[in-house]
Amino acid sequence: MNPANYVILSAVLFSLGAVGVLVRRNAIVVFMCVELMLNAANLAFVAFSKINGNLDGQVIAFFVMVVAAAEVVVGLAIIVQIFRTRRSVSIDEPNLLKY
């Protein structure tokens, strides 16, 4: 099987994640879409790792996971904090930063 399929699947997932970020308004769902994009990137790394026959791609994917975990922790804490003050997790709510 052509390993390009993995990469194409990765691209599809990435695009879906991007669309989700743009379309959804629930901050938690948006966050999950971001995670989906990161996972798609990881899939591409793993596929490339196999194509190239070395483990560096997997190590990078590992680091991406670590960073994603850290990001989730902080991001969710921020969401909780926003929810406490605004009683809402809609990302359209804080739109004061405008003209």
């Binding site: 399929n5 769902v29 196999k50 483990l55």
Partner: protein
């Protein structure tokens, strides 16, 4: 790599790829955030299988443990805090956002596939057999790399994780503005102007509907609002009281007496 393995990999790819895309679509289109999270978990498990199929068993396990196990649970916890029932209306508020987003997403996907398809036509499947066997296995190989070539980034990520943990604590911490009320103060406050100082009435308990969503009835037969937990009320999950049934029961009761 022999043909059987190759075919097996192909089958695994198509099955898991289907589920991954299905999960992603579900993530996007679910109305409720909890459903989105569950679809997301499906995608991640599919990806874990694909990792294993790509000769990355360590990453596959980590994917399941960290993502499906830890990260998704964290998401669900936060959803609980925020309110499981909070759902987006799917009506778009920003003008043209949805169409533009879908068009751009499609464009991005098409361009990426175009680029990948045109550049990766003659790529062999490749194999990690050699790389995995050098140190005796995939985990050992990754460990070797992390503690030699990628030692410094690895140490930096440890600092990052500690910082993230600290940051989460700081952010989630709620500053107390008033001194914590003592028990006596709380009981005084409860009796000082409260409407209902004692226990609230328990929900109605019937043989058939032994549940908290059934309101208690007052002596005159009307429903007691305060007997139902607030979240259920908010959700509209209060079971209506069937007066016909009640009358029947009463008549049977009376009939048996008479």
């Amino acid at each position: 790599m022999n043909t059987a393995v190759n075919q097996g990999e192909t089958i695994v790819f198509w099955i898991c790829g289907f589920f991954a895309v299905l999960g992603a679509l579900g993530l996007i289109f679910s109305k409720k955030a909890v459903h989105s999270a569950l679809w997301m978990a499906l995608t991640m498990i599919s990806l874990a299988v694909l990792y294993v199929a790509n000769q990355a068993p360590f990453l596959g396990m980590v994917q399941i443990v960290v993502y499906t196990g830890a990260v998704m649970m964290l998401f669900l916890f936060v959803l609980m805090v925020v309110g499981v029932d909070s759902s987006d209306s799917l009506i778009e508020t920003v003008k043209g956002q949805r169409i533009a987003a879908i068009l751009l997403g499609l464009g991005l996907a098409i361009l990426l596939i175009w680029g990948i398809g045109s550049s990766m036509t003659n790529v062999g499947p490749g194999s990690l057999d050699d790389a995995n066997s050098v140190d005796g296995g995939n985990v050992q190989g990754i460990a070797h790399l992390i503690f030699t070539t990628y030692l410094v980034p690895f140490e930096v990520t440890s600092a990052l994780l500690i910082t993230a943990a600290l940051g989460a604590m700081v952010l989630a911490h709620r500053e107390r503005w008033l001194p914590k009320p003592t028990q006596s103060e709380m009981s005084k406050a409860r009796f000082a102007g409260a409407v209902h100082p004692g226990n609230l009435p328990a929900p109605g308990v019937y043989a058939r509907h032994n549940a908290v969503d059934t309101p208690a009835l007052l002596p005159d037969g009307s429903v007691s609002d305060i007997s139902i937990p607030g979240p259920l009320k908010a959700r509209g999950d209060v079971r209506p009281v069937d007066h016909m049934e009640m009358d029947e029961i009463t008549s049977i009761d009376e009939g048996s007496q008479s």
